[in-house]
Structure formats: structure tokens, C-alpha cells
């Protein structure tokens, strides 16, 4: 498939065929990652800037590892070490990075729309690694790869419950779009104070009672509860939140047979997810991390070689 997109900003840019192609490519790299020697020369000579203006451990490491396994040169830039901390605007930081001619920039930023802001001003590919509450497309894709493997690629008729702080969650927004596109039904559950407005315009069913929401679902996707929500007046306290919206083996018992649990991490054990459940056989949390590297390898490969199809290696899905 000739890749036509310069940037990955949100799932809404992609169609189902493109998503399947990304997942197929990621599946190939996932196999590479299981070999004793995990490095391939696919992106040799190309450079990727990892521009993380907001704290991140796994996403940044995942992109870094993905780039290095493809033999790209990766350069990490954090907000605290960048000129953004000295008052430089995002535009000027972007133009400065552009002047160094990277082939791609991976951006994590606290403001919704920041990835699009960058993409409109840069010639190189921009990959959104999370912008504010808006989108986290690579997380949604790695979640889809994880569920696809769990369900043998068949999303039709499956129901996924996304649980917790939907309002502030870019993971939820991207997953609603992607899971719906792949044919799954999406349920949302959380306290009203943590739900976005006008959910009637989203392709979802909304629940306020976790026991009802979890009934017969095929997967539960927990979201991390930002602890500061309590101080913002959105929650009374974590104890009550854990009691009413924390997912436990009891809820999974009501779910469909073989139902699994996902979490984008980092997890708050005993808050949004029961600690034992996080470590159980139903938990796919660590597989998500593993798939994250493969998905990001696929994305870097597709976006950075879109103008040079000759970069294709034997075995990579065409």
C-alpha cells in the first residue's frame, strides 16, 4: 500500500483498510521483535526527533526502541531540557527542529491540537504521541493490535467497555473512533463529572453503573485516574471512586467468557483496577506494551518511507 499521509494526528484520518495495513505491518515487526537479533536496517540514515513536552515513560521509550530497532537515529527532547522551558513558543521550537531536517517528529504535548499545530508548519512527518485530551492514535492502534490478536482479528459483534475518566482522556477518544471503525460496539462508563459533554453525538452507549456496564462485554479498557481530579472537585475521594468505578474480578465474572482487561498505563493499583486483576491471566497490560513497540515500528516505517517505496524489505507487508 502506497502510504499517502504525511502525518498521523488522529484515527479520524485513517480508513479501515489503512488501519488493517498498519496492524498487518505491526504484526510483521512483532515477529522481528521475537528474534534474538531485533534490529533491521529499514530506516538506516533517517532521523526521528522524540519531542515530549509532557511527562511520559512508556510511550517515549516505546518510540525510541521502535526507531532504534529500525536503525533510525532517535533524538529525545524533553520540555524541561528544551527552550520551551525558557519561554520559546511551540512555533519557534518547531521551526528550529525543522531546520535540522529530521524525517519525522513524534510529539507529546499537553494542549489539544498541538500535533496538528506542528503538522501544519512542518514539512517532515508528525506523529501524535498524545495531545492534551484530544487524541492518542498510536495507543489506540496498539490496543487494536492487542485485541485483534486476542480475537483472531474479528472485531464484529464484540463489545468493549471503556471505563473511568473519559472526559480528560485522549486514549478514550481515539479508541472510540478506532474500535467503532473496526466493527466493535463501545460502552463508556464513569461518573458524570468525568464524562465529556454531548455524548449523544458519540457512537457509544453510556453507563453510570459499572455492574451493568460490564455485563457481557468482551473487553474492559481501564483508564488511569489522574489523582488531581479529586482536588478539582470532580470526585469526593479515591476510596469511593475505587468502590464504584474500580474494575475487579467480580465485574469480569459478569463479562462475556474469555473477556480481557486492558490499561494504557501507568496503572493505579487499587484505584481504577484491582491489583490482583492487573496481574491475572485476563490482563493484557504487558502485551499492550510489547505491541506498542511493534505498532510504532510499523508507523515509523510507513510514514518515513512513504516517498520511497524501494525502502521495503523482504517480508514487510506490501
Amino acid at each position: 500500500m502506497q502510504w499517502k499521509h504525511k502525518d498521523l494526528l488522529d484515527i479520524s484520518q485513517l480508513d479501515a483498510d489503512e488501519v488493517r495495513h498498519i496492524l498487518a505491518t505491526a504484526a510483521y515487526f512483532r515477529e522481528i521483535n521475537s528474534r534474538p537479533v531485533k534490529k533491521v536496517p529499514t530506516l538506516k540514515g533517517r532521523s526521528v526527533v522524540l519531542f515530549f513536552a509532557e511527562a511520559s515513560t512508556r510511550t517515549k521509550t516505546s518510540f525510541d526502541m521502535a526507531g532504534k530497532r529500525l536503525s533510525a537515529d532517535t533524538f529525545a527532547l524533553a520540555k524541561s531540557g528544551s527552550s520551551l522551558a525558557k519561554g520559546e513558543t511551540l512555533k519557534d521550537t518547531a521551526l528550529t527542529l525543522q531546520a535540522m531536517n529530521p524525517d519525522g517528529i513524534v510529539i507529546r504535548h499537553g494542549s489539544s491540537g498541538a500535533a496538528q499545530f506542528l503538522a501544519e508548519r512542518l514539512e517532515c512527518s508528525v506523529i501524535n504521541a498524545g495531545d492534551g485530551r484530544h487524541a492518542h492514535p498510536t495507543q489506540a492502534l496498539l490496543d487494536a493490535l492487542t485485541l485483534s490478536r486476542h480475537w483472531n482479528g474479528d472485531f464484529a459483534g464484540k463489545t468493549v467497555l471503556i471505563l473511568g475518566d473519559i472526559s480528560h482522556s485522549r486514549v478514550a477518544r481515539s479508541n472510540v473512533l478506532l474500535l467503532t471503525m473496526l466493527g466493535a460496539q463501545v460502552r463508556l462508563c464513569g461518573p458524570r463529572t468525568l464524562l465529556p459533554p454531548r455524548l449523544d453525538t458519540w457512537p457509544v452507549t453510556v453507563f453510570s453503573d459499572l455492574s451493568k456496564a460490564a455485563r457481557d462485554v468482551d473487553a474492559v479498557m481501564c483508564l488511569r485516574l489522574q489523582l488531581e481530579r479529586q482536588h478539582a472537585g470532580l470526585l469526593p475521594d479515591l476510596r469511593e471512586y475505587a468502590r464504584t468505578f474500580g474494575v475487579s474480578p467480580r465485574h469480569l465474572a459478569q463479562a462475556a467468557p474469555g473477556a480481557c482487561v486492558l490499561h494504557p498505563g501507568p496503572i493505579n493499583r487499587g484505584v481504577e483496577i484491582d491489583s490482583a486483576l492487573a496481574d491475572s491471566a485476563e490482563s493484557l497490560i504487558l502485551e499492550q506494551v510489547e505491541n506498542g513497540v511493534a505498532v510504532r515500528m510499523a508507523l515509523l516505517y510507513l510514514y518515513l518511507t512513504r516517498k520511497s517505496p524501494d525502502a521495503a524489505q523482504p517480508g514487510i507487508p506490501a
Binding site: G113, Q116, F117, H134, R170, R173, P197, R198
Partner: protein, 463 residues
């Protein structure tokens, strides 16, 4: 009027504008002309108003002498202007602008703001107090007025008039009343805490009472200060999808309710700024029905743009209160037509390009409006969405009567402040066509129809 019956008695006319299309009633019909049958037929174009006719406007000593059917008065003036094909309008009044001087002259200064006003069709400009320093002392007011006078071209000796609005509270901090008597004596025509709503209802009540004693109307920026303040985007479908913290329309309507209840209880007037939503319209309509002395304004952008403008994280569409859904646009148009909303104002809020070219949540709120307001609102008239008389009232008589400003109604003796407007001329909104220093408008790059061709102030050509 006797002058009209005997035009030969006018010793010296300074200006005669010939054959302009006037869509309103004539206040001084030249009864003695006896040429009714020979009046030229007006070209109405798409306008639904059937009253249009071609008129001559005669001016002496800066004032209207007569507006009469074209050709009915056989007199010559020192300056003759052929206005065939152009629409005659009185100059507009803008009761709500931010001119940024003193303090933020890189965004706008009084001279550039008044220049934009001249080209935008405004003769009267009221400017808000949120300058740096805040206009909460007589010296700041006097400085503003001096800067305005200096901005007028010496050769013309006249320009758009500036009417400062004083701060309601010291430093706009919402803690102590500003020295409103000083501000009034220095030239302020109203008081407002615009931009920083007063949190304390007790203090706001006292401000209403104190201002009323001085004959000053309080202009309130209706926004619950705790309910998602200054988000710049409506809480709704678009904010939900984009992952932006939105501001619900009730943030405005709750405060509007508080305001009209206070005004009713205290029996004082109040003016509500930049009304953006249907819920506030309902509050105002009910208050007026009870006899509350409330007036309200809305802005061209709330009548023509919706929250969809924000969809691409366009910071130029970030404004407070935010753009709302289409249902609110329709409700505002209806309210403006039936008089529930009395007037139009631009809420001209210039910001430099570099301030807007940042992450959406970091960008300041505001739209630069003086350059585009006339064309944008005339398009509503041209397409039949806003009656001509409502347009006229909203931009001229309503604000002038509320705040005591001079107004041209084309009656003899009125100030000769008027425009000639080409409703067919198309132009592209951009740096070359805007006079304001700041081009922060979501209309940037769009084609507008209708362009001011001439602007006379006190009978003198300023554009």
C-alpha cells in the same frame, strides 16, 4: 421643514451627495417639490425593503440640512458627490471595542483603532477599560481622549469620536469601586468590568447603585466566573470531539439572570454586553416584559459564525463568550429583529498574530471586528435575514440613545455623519484590506460582499 420648502434661502451648502439609495423613511420629505410623479425609481437589487428611493443629502456646517428625493432640490453645494449606485447609511456606533492603548500598542492603538473605525463605517467608538494601566482614573481617560484628537488628520480636523468606558472597579480587580464620578467628569460615558466579571454579587450591586446616581449605565460582561471561564470554545459537540474544555451557554445566562434581577430590584438600568446564546435572549426577553430597564448587544460573529469555526483548532475563532451552535445564531437574529437585543457592537478585540499562533488553549480570546462588521451585518440585510430597520436601530439609534452619543437619523440638524456603501463590491479579508493593526479574525482570507466607498463625518470626507 421650512428650509426644504424654500431651499433658495440656504445661503451656503457645504456638501451635496446626489442620488444615493436610501432604504428608510424620509424624515423631511420635500412636500413643496410637487414632483412626486417624476421621482426616480430606486434599484432595489435583492433587498426586500420596498421603501428604497434615490435621495440627495444636503449638508451645511457639519449638519444635515435636508434629505430629499433626488433632483427635487435645485441647489448647488461647494462640494458635489455623485452617489449613484451606492447605498446611503448613517455612520455606525460601536458600543464595545478594545483599543489596547495605553499599554498594548503592538496590538492596536487609538489612532489605528479609529482609522479602522473610519474605514469600517463608525463615527462613534466606545472603548473598554481593560488597558494597561486600567482606565480607572481620570488621567487615563483624559490621555485616551487626547490620543483620539491627535489621531484626526489636521487637514480634515475631524475623525471618529472616542467615548471611553470607565472601569467599574479599581484595576478591574472586583474588590473596590472605581472613582466613577472622576471618570464621568473626565469623559467616560459608561462603566464596565468587561473582561473580568465581578465575582461578588454584593459588590456588583453596590456598583450598580453608585453608577446610577451618576447617570452612568453599567455594562456587564455576563460570565459566571467559576463556570469554565474564558474557555473560548462552546461546551458542546465540537469541544467534546476536540478534547477542549468548553464553556456552557448557561455561564452567560446565569449571570444575565443575576444582572436583570439586580437591576429590577434596585430599579436601575443595565446593559448586557456581547450576548451569544438563546438562553440569555430568553432571560432578557422576560425581563423586558416585566419592565426592567435592560438593554443588550450582540456581535456580528455571533450572528454569522458557529462553534464549527473552531474545528481545526483555529485560534482566530477563539472568542469569549464563544461561538455557539446554529440554533443560537437563529435565536439571536430573531431577538435582534424584534428588539429583545437592542444593538450591535463589534467587541473588537485585536491580538497580534504571534499571540494567536500558539496552542489553542494558550491563545488569547478575541476577534478583530471593526474592519468587517459593516459588510458582515449588511449581508444579513441583503439576504433578508435581518430587517433594515433593525440593522439601523442596532448600529445607530439604540447605542446612541442608551449612552447619550450624537446620532445621525438624517433629520435636519443631525450631525452629517454618514456612509456611502457599495453592496455589490467584493473584497478579500486580509492584511491589505484591514486597517486594524491586528488581523485576528476567522474571516481572514474569505470574500466579503459590500464595501464602504465614502465616509462623511460632520460633513467632511474622512474616507
Amino acid at each position: 421643514m421650512s428650509e426644504n420648502n424654500k431651499p433658495q434661502q440656504v445661503k451656503k451648502l457645504d456638501l451635496a451627495v446626489r442620488s444615493a439609495l436610501w432604504l428608510g423613511p424620509l424624515k423631511s420629505q420635500a412636500k413643496a417639490s410637487g414632483k412626486k410623479g417624476s421621482q426616480p425609481k430606486a434599484q432595489l437589487g435583492m433587498l426586500k425593503n420596498p421603501k428604497g428611493q434615490l435621495v440627495d443629502v444636503l449638508v451645511a456646517k457639519g449638519r444635515i440640512v435636508s434629505v430629499a428625493p433626488a433632483g427635487s432640490l435645485d441647489v448647488q453645494a461647494a462640494k458635489e458627490v455623485d452617489a449613484r449606485g451606492l447605498i446611503l447609511l448613517p455612520s455606525l456606533t460601536d458600543a464595545h471595542t478594545h483599543l489596547r492603548e495605553p499599554g498594548q500598542e503592538y496590538k492596536e492603538d487609538i489612532a489605528s483603532g479609529l482609522l479602522a473605525a473610519a474605514f469600517g463605517g463608525f463615527s462613534n467608538l466606545m472603548c473598554m477599560a481593560n488597558t494597561r494601566p486600567v482606565n480607572d482614573t481620570a488621567s487615563v481617560t483624559e490621555f485616551m481622549l487626547e490620543q483620539a484628537r491627535k489621531s484626526w488628520p489636521p487637514a480634515v480636523g475631524v475623525g471618529p469620536r472616542l467615548y471611553p468606558i470607565g472601569a467599574l472597579t479599581k484595576g478591574l480587580k472586583g474588590q473596590e469601586l472605581a472613582s466613577m464620578a472622576d471618570l464621568k467628569d473626565a469623559g467616560c460615558v459608561a462603566v464596565s468590568n468587561d473582561g473580568r466579571p465581578v465575582e461578588s454579587t454584593e459588590l456588583f450591586r453596590r456598583a450598580l447603585e453608585y453608577a446610577h446616581d451618576l447617570g452612568l449605565v453599567v455594562i456587564d460582561h455576563c460570565e459566571d466566573p467559576f463556570l469554565a471561564p474564558a474557555a473560548g470554545v462552546n461546551e458542546g459537540v465540537v469541544s467534546s470531539r476536540l478534547g477542549l474544555a468548553g464553556q456552557p451557554d448557561i455561564a452567560e445566562a446565569i449571570q444575565a439572570s443575576r444582572d436583570v434581577l439586580l437591576a429590577e430590584y434596585l430599579n436601575v438600568p443595565i446593559h448586557l454586553a456581547h450576548i451569544s446564546c438563546e438562553k440569555s435572549v430568553a432571560v432578557i426577553r422576560a425581563a423586558k416584559a416585566r419592565g426592567v430597564d435592560v438593554t443588550a448587544e450582540t456581535c456580528p460573529h455571533y450572528l454569522t459564525l458557529t462553534e464549527d469555526e473552531v474545528a481545526g483548532y483555529s485560534a482566530n475563532a477563539k472568542v469569549n463568550p464563544p461561538l455557539r451552535p446554529q440554533a443560537d445564531v437563529e435565536a439571536l437574529l430573531e431577538a435582534l429583529a424584534d428588539g429583545t437585543i437592542d444593538m450591535l457592537a463589534t467587541d473588537h478585540a485585536p491580538h497580534a498574530a504571534h499571540e494567536k499562533e500558539v496552542e489553542f488553549d494558550q491563545a488569547p480570546c478575541g476577534i478583530s471586528g471593526l474592519d468587517t462588521a459593516l459588510a458582515v451585518t449588511w449581508e444579513l440585510v441583503r439576504t433578508g435575514r435581518l430587517p433594515f430597520d433593525a440593522f439601523l436601530r442596532a448600529w445607530t439609534t439604540a447605542p446612541c440613545r442608551r449612552f447619550g452619543l450624537p446620532v445621525c437619523t438624517f433629520a435636519p440638524g443631525d450631525p452629517a455623519d454618514f456612509l456611502l456603501f457599495d453592496q455589490e463590491a467584493q473584497w478579500v479579508v486580509g492584511p491589505d484590506t484591514m486597517q486594524s493593526k491586528s488581523k485576528n479574525t476567522p474571516l481572514l482570507g474569505r470574500v466579503l460582499r459590500g464595501r464602504l466607498k465614502a465616509h462623511f463625518l460632520a460633513g467632511k470626507s474622512i474616507v
